[in-house]
């Protein structure tokens, strides 16, 4: 980025970012500096990519005109803690309207690839068309700016995400990698391909500890384009941390904002895994396709149970003091950590464990491991498998997919393997398509074609308005449990004002755990931007830019054919209310009707000029 102004909100055209546009059909590349259009363009991530996507008329995700945009945020690769994010944007193979049009989508991941990419001097890559041969891209820092090269990638075909990273590491020193797995290579039958991003820990330990840009099938789009990997090679560029950033970083760690995510031995809450115990107090941990039973079965995957037999190491992303990773290892006879099994985050653990009727540590770990190595979104795969299991429970005489049932680990594992290999399109294409084919859509736990994260929809009507996945683009998922609010006024305010601000993190290059409650419109972020880039931006300008970007995303949903009646929760939620969830019942038809009316009153007005 080059700043010719210190007021990017007022003079965005005086901020230039460096973009490389690659025509994969003929290998042509155009490198250049692009002036920004507005503050969201300056911030980056989906704030920028969606402005390009809205200019394209795309009727199918797998067409040459659908670009894959890889970019970073303004604070990616900075001294600011969690500044590791890379964003992948395009029209999604998995999220789409009933009319059959693909939705614009982005996915974000940490790992060190984003920082390395930024340090090459490049802010954005746009992949146009598709290559007729498998290729990978190398981005290096050259004497006169970034140097980009496409290389044959036949030798990478068929390798898992981890194997690809290990293979490329042998060839490229001081580099980090973004790769797809076999799932993305089998894009025709797997719409839920993820992009794996290498971590320092992974490159040192040789264990499969990638981070993932999982949602929306951006790995499948990358596979369609025949781009198997990206290599960003540069020296690390971080010198001493500016004082204001140091202060912000200390505040993130010690100020209480991330305390709940830090390791228990450090006085923290133990990462997202702790959500199991909190939600179980309300019997709101998804069980057997989002039907909590009011019993103690989820407790079998509580941390306190798991740590009796396994070693849990608290580990972190590069230079991040939050240390939210809970990596599970087999325990050796001498009590030390043995084989690495998987990283336990709340969502994949639940959706590939309890929600499939699996309650053993190693079973859930094996499925997480498979999704990671095949390069698939654990949320989409887990929820779609759960749909199949519930279908078979309802139809014992006419089951599908070999009649697998809740708790049938061997059958489920085989199905996940086949999915990753492109041999189970029923799963690979997601729950929306499968449920339509089977004529039982009410039990498919998705909204607008994107599967729900592991929070009961009964507790989160905000899912309806999330633009890129329920828990990453609408921060209402814990609101009922935390605040117990049941009035429409509070929910309307949350959905239309405060909780959508979570998407700001998918613009600026920081992880949500930097300040998940307040978003990026804070004095802390203002100070960091000034210290890192010498720019003066107000908290309100940041909030306004986030709001505009969010509304642009929602307007794009309508442009891609969504009707308002597609903004809804799975029908089972209202048609067969679950009496076991110990929270106020929000999702009555009456409450939802009132909420719909009031939320649309706001969004319709605000979107007017965008539609």
């Amino acid at each position: 980025m080059r700043f010719l102004t210190d007021k990017p909100a007022v003079e965005p055209a005086s901020v230039l970012y460096r973009r490389c546009t690659v025509d994969l059909k003929n290998g042509d590349m155009q490198m250049g500096e692009v002036p920004c259009l507005n503050l969201e363009d300056v911030l980056g991530g989906f704030g920028r990519s969606f402005q390009l996507l809205e200019k394209r008329e795309i009727c199918d995700a797998y067409v040459d005109e659908n670009p894959l945009i890889v970019n970073v945020g303004l604070l990616t690769g900075s001294h600011v803690m969690t500044g590791m994010r890379t964003y992948f944007s395009g029209y999604s193979p998995i999220k789409g309207s009933r009319k059959g049009l693909p939705a614009a989508m982005w996915s974000a991941g940490s790992g060190k690839f984003g920082a390395k990419l930024k340090w090459t001097g490049l802010d954005e890559i746009i992949f146009e068309n598709r290559s007729d041969q498998p290729v990978y891209m190398v981005i290096r820092e050259g004497n006169d700016g970034p140097v980009v090269e496409l290389k044959p990638a036949v030798h990478l075909l068929g390798l898992t995400t981890h194997e690809k990273i290990m293979s490329l590491q042998k060839e490229y020193d001081d580099a980090h990698f973004a790769v797809i797995g076999p799932a993305g290579e089998n894009w025709q039958n797997v719409y839920a391909g993820a992009v794996a991003l290498s971590t320092e820990n992974q490159l040192k330990s040789k264990e499969d500890k990638s981070r993932f840009a999982g949602r929306g099938g951006m790995g499948s789009l990358m596979g369609y384009k025949n781009v198997l990997a990206l290599v960003a090679q540069s020296n690390d560029k971080l010198g001493s941390t500016p004082e204001p950033v140091k202060k912000a970083n200390v505040n993130v760690i010690k100020g209480g904002g991330s305390a709940r995510l830090q390791p228990i031995k450090r006085g923290g809450g133990g990462g997202t895994w702790a959500a199991y115990e909190v939600l179980q107090a309300f019997h709101a941990v998804p069980v057997n396709n989002f039907r909590p039973q009011g019993n103690d079965i989820p407790e079998r995957l509580f941390r306190s149970r798991v740590e009796k037999s396994y070693e849990i190491k608290s580990e972190a992303c590069y230079r991040c003091g939050i240390t939210c990773h809970n990596n599970i290892y087999k325990r050796k006879e001498d009590g030390s950590a043995g084989e690495f099994l998987a990283k336990f985050d709340y969502e994949p653990l639940n959706l590939l464990g309890t929600n499939l009727g699996l309650h053993e540590t190693e079973q859930a770990a094996a499925l997480i491991h498979l999704c990671d190595n095949y390069g698939m979104d654990a949320i989409t795969v887990g929820v779609t498998v759960a749909y199949v299991l519930s279908y078979n429970e309802r139809h014992p005489q006419t089951p599908i997919l070999n009649g697998i049932t809740f708790g049938d680990f061997d059958g489920i594992r085989r199905l996940v393997e086949l999915t990753g290999q492109g041999k189970a399109p029923e799963i690979g294409r997601g729950s929306m398509r499968l449920s339509v084919d089977l004529g039982e859509t009410g039990y498919a736990y998705h909204v607008k074609g994107l599967e729900l994260a592991a929070y009961q929809p009964e507790t989160n009507p905000g899912y309806i308005w999330a633009i890129a996945g329920g828990h990453m683009s609408m921060g209402t998922y814990g609101m009922l449990a935390r605040e117990g609010k049941t009035d429409t006024k509070s929910w309307v305010e949350a959905i239309t004002q405060d909780k959508l601000q979570i998407v700001g993190f998918d613009m600026i290059g920081l992880c949500k755990f930097f300040d998940i409650v307040k978003g990026i419109g804070t004095a802390m972020v203002v100070d960091c931007l000034k210290a890192e880039h010498g720019v003066i931006v107000t908290e309100q300008e940041l909030k306004d830019a986030v709001k505009r970007a969010f509304l642009r995303g929602m307007a794009l949903e309508f442009r891609q054919g969504y009707d308002k009646d597609e903004f809804c929760l799975p029908a089972e939620v209202t048609e067969s209310p679950n009496p076991n969830i110990k929270m106020p019942m929000l999702t009555t038809p009456e409450f939802l009707a009132e909420l719909n009316e009031k939320v649309w009153e706001v969004f319709d007005r605000e979107m007017q000029e965008l539609l």
Binding site: A259, G269, Y346, R482
Partner: protein, 74 residues
């Protein structure tokens, strides 16, 4: 007065899961949190008899006070 206190997740570490405790009348939820030396940054959800309350809520005989940390995704 007797109050049943239930702790969840990390709040249990080095403490207890559920206990009946004696407090004088006029005790608030915040007083119990202070008494148990719970780290305030971890206490996020306060329930009395399954209803959300705030730190100033006055406890009554036989109340069930549940204290939970924040629910967080990623």
């Amino acid at each position: 007065m007797k109050v049943a206190v239930k702790l969840y997740a990390v709040l249990r570490c080095g403490r207890f899961k559920e206990k009946f405790l004696d407090y004088p009348s006029g005790t608030t939820v915040g007083d119990v949190i202070t008494d148990l030396k719970l780290p305030p940054e971890h206490v996020d959800i306060l329930l009395v008899n399954d209803t959300h309350v705030d730190f100033e809520h006055l406890l009554e005989e036989n109340d069930v006070l549940s204290l939970l940390p924040m629910v967080e995704g990623g």
